[in-house]
Symmetry: C3
């Protein structure tokens, strides 16, 4: 997460222009992954760009995009831009929903962020999660089929001990087929001249209160989407309660949530991470019960990492669930951040 | 358009190497767009790279490419490279045709460069426009079907009050299907071993004379292309007269053009923009008459922007045409340049 | 190859963070290519990112990726990461096989690295060549059909006059269709939850000994792959002897190789390049005989370049083979490196 900031200021100001700055960063990783059957190699390197500037009136603006997402980014997804000031921060693009903006997810397990058959360290927020798709499927099938339209709008603001967030989509998606041959396909509404079809409308609000080392918060999310597999429209809402506490070197996060309307799902999760010098250990356990389908699933992850300094660390983990037929997955590798 | 120039010179020269420099820039935008039916969100962030260097003999060279075009850029489209000196500048890649190089287009209306059913602020040059495709279709159908082969070659030079430009394609395109699943597909001739088929040959010349605040110019363009929808070959040429004048804070541009040979189209357009302190207003109106099809179309755009300083501005606009069944489009948003 | 190193150190250390650095570089080219029938334009610009850092314990790490390969790079191909120290260097991703890591290829002919019907300046190593695909086809058909799974692992180390290298794949590839619509499709094993199928296992070792201006070496490679065109599995191994010598301004490289087991191919090649001030001339000739198919092929390339300084050079070449029906190819253009 350590970004390299280029020493551009001197040169830019010598030209008398108060231009915005671009920083180049990224991350890399290499190691081995056990997928339930075999140990395989897995490596990755990603480059990201972060731009920021300030208007004459003191508003801040900027954006970010990863090099591997740059194609889709021209259509309004997989990247975001923002403008901020005393009023808070307004972001548009591939942003998270309001509750996720305030509460986040659990500790990432493993150097590849392992996900097991039941789920991952992601908390199952309803809106603007999963790379722009609304997750309005049964938590036990693992099929995510409700396409969000993107770009979405996210507002966050902090006023003393209170933090608030609000997010919404514009409720439109064009008729293009979603998904593709391993290449991110930009859904991109907002393309002038395209006849849009209502597929998904979503909005969410969330609030949090911080006292000392503790934060408690609540979020409400609503989504009206079409399940693209079944072709039926469905209304889903979700209320979530979250608490975060810092106890010495240990951080604990717990979330209780319920999905209602056309869904009836109860969801509980707790995660923690502890720092011992250069070593961090963390994990999570989550449980979800689909009362309509009469099914439930429990999944967990456990991992550790050792900071080598200079932006490098060794990280490994294991994740599993009680989904029948699924195996535990594990990994061990080196991570770099630039 | 303010590019961030990195302070690389000191480090590079301390190593005794006169290497070329790379600057990273880009632009971002966020706002709402009315597409004739709905207001939708629309956001985008783009990163661009500009390289430049100087040979020992004083020739300058370089190139530019946007991150979102980097894949196609390896095949010779969607990016360009150049070499320049006292003789002028020679560019190859995704370059504009000769008249567009000298006369440009009209003022961009709206933060998303709105285009209505009839057209946009683009002047309807024949060659090397529209992202590498030759626009050899009826202006009233809106279908652009003549594939240019790319890369193209563009020469520009300025000698005192005279500016000249010349451009040409190499007239070959391989047999690959043009277009694709929302992903830019490199047409890429010049791939050794591929049996090329003649599809499009184009060339253009243009000249301009500047006196005080006024510039007048003329361009001639020729294209021999295959309309890929009808499968027929067609010869089209175009002669254009352009005039640009600066009257105080107001800049006015007017273009008269005629397309002949297998086409018979008359084209008139006028655009203007005025700067009042931090505010700029601008617009255009264009008219085209297809004498073969006995159809005509008029379209216009009107917009304004307010410079917030630091590379950010608020910009909005409206565009419409008299094409029956088409609606006015509009937008309002924030633009950033890095 | 001259990379631009950004002056990031001062700013980064002023923040008290020893973060890794990212440098941005690239290359551009423009010119004309004769493909056996026509002279065509050909231009390209590529941007590359190189990251590097050092852990507190003195290990070095980093990686590199080209902007045009950034999409596939997220799946573990077309890019690489490494960690190195006194033990040597361990790289993962789109790495070359062990013999190629020590012996390299022949001099690149022409500004586009011309390849004729028989081959190119590439030496026909068995493993981890050709962009991640194992080349386990007959050298005379030109069809490369054995898919390697990627990412691969490469170890290189130098101990006094001895250099050693070892490389291997993890032998798994998922069931995804390989290839695509002109877009690099990530084969990407290591994706958790995907049922992998054994398609290719490969490993290689190589060693070299340097005395004065001479280096001699030997490599052994083994590949167990499925020919995806015929659907049959095949075992191929290859033993190669290489010698490199520097005689004044001239560098000469020669390779003798034999492919055995399910293949029976003899392979000879010699290449040389000489530097006269700013001018470099070079070329190669290679011969391969497929004893199973009773076919043979000879191909060669010859080129020259003139260094303009500042990272620019003029380069041209010609390549041909004795494959019946194939024509000589040639090019001439300008190359830039950033």
């Amino acid at each position: 997460m350590k970004k390299v900031l280029f020493a551009t200021t001197a040169l830019v100001f010598s030209a008398g222009i108060a231009a915005a700055e671009v920083s180049v960063g990224g991350d890399g990783r290499m190691g081995v992954v056990y997928n339930g059957d075999d140990w395989n190699f897995s490596s990755r390197i990603r480059v990201s760009f972060t731009a920021s500037g300030t208007t004459d009136g003191g508003l801040e603006f900027g954006g970010s995009v990863r090099a591997d997402q740059a194609i889709a980014a021209t259509r309004g997804t997989s990247a975001s831009v923002y403008i901020s000031g005393a009023f808070g921060k307004l972001s548009m693009g591939d942003v998270v929903g309001a509750p996720e903006a305030l509460f986040g997810d659990f500790y990432e397990v493993g150097y590849t962020d392992l996900s097991s058959a039941g789920g991952s360290n992601d908390i199952g927020y309803l809106t603007a999660d999963n790379g722009g798709n609304v997750d309005c499927t049964s938590v036990t099938t693992g099929v995510s089929a409700c396409a969000n339209s993107g770009p979405n709008l996210l507002y966050t603001g902090t006023f003393g001990a209170f933090s608030v967030a609000a997010s919404m989509s514009d409720g439109k998606v064009n008729g293009a087929t979603i998904g593709g041959l391993g290449v991110p396909v930009a859904v991109g509404n907002g393309t002038v001249g395209v006849t849009d079809t209502s597929v998904t409308q979503e909005y969410a609000i969330a609030g949090a209160y911080t006292f000392g080392n503790y934060t408690v918060g609540m979020g409400y999310e609503y989504s009206n989407g079409r399940n693209q597999l079944s072709g039926t429209d469905m209304d889903v809402d979700m209320i979530s309660l979250a608490g975060v506490g810092q106890f010495g070197n240990t951080s604990v996060k717990a979330v209780i949530a319920h999905r209602g309307q056309d869904a009836d799902v109860d969801w509980y999760g707790i995660g923690a991470s502890s720092v011992f010098g250069a070593t961090t250990v963390g994990g999570y356990i989550q449980y979800a019960e689909d009362n309509n389908a009469n099914t439930d699933v429990t999944w967990y992850g456990l991992g550790a990492e050792y900071d080598l300094g200079g932006g490098a660390s060794i990280k490994g983990g294991i994740a599993d669930s009680d989904v029948s037929g699924s195996d535990a997955v594990a990994d061990l590798g080196v991570k770099f951040s630039f």
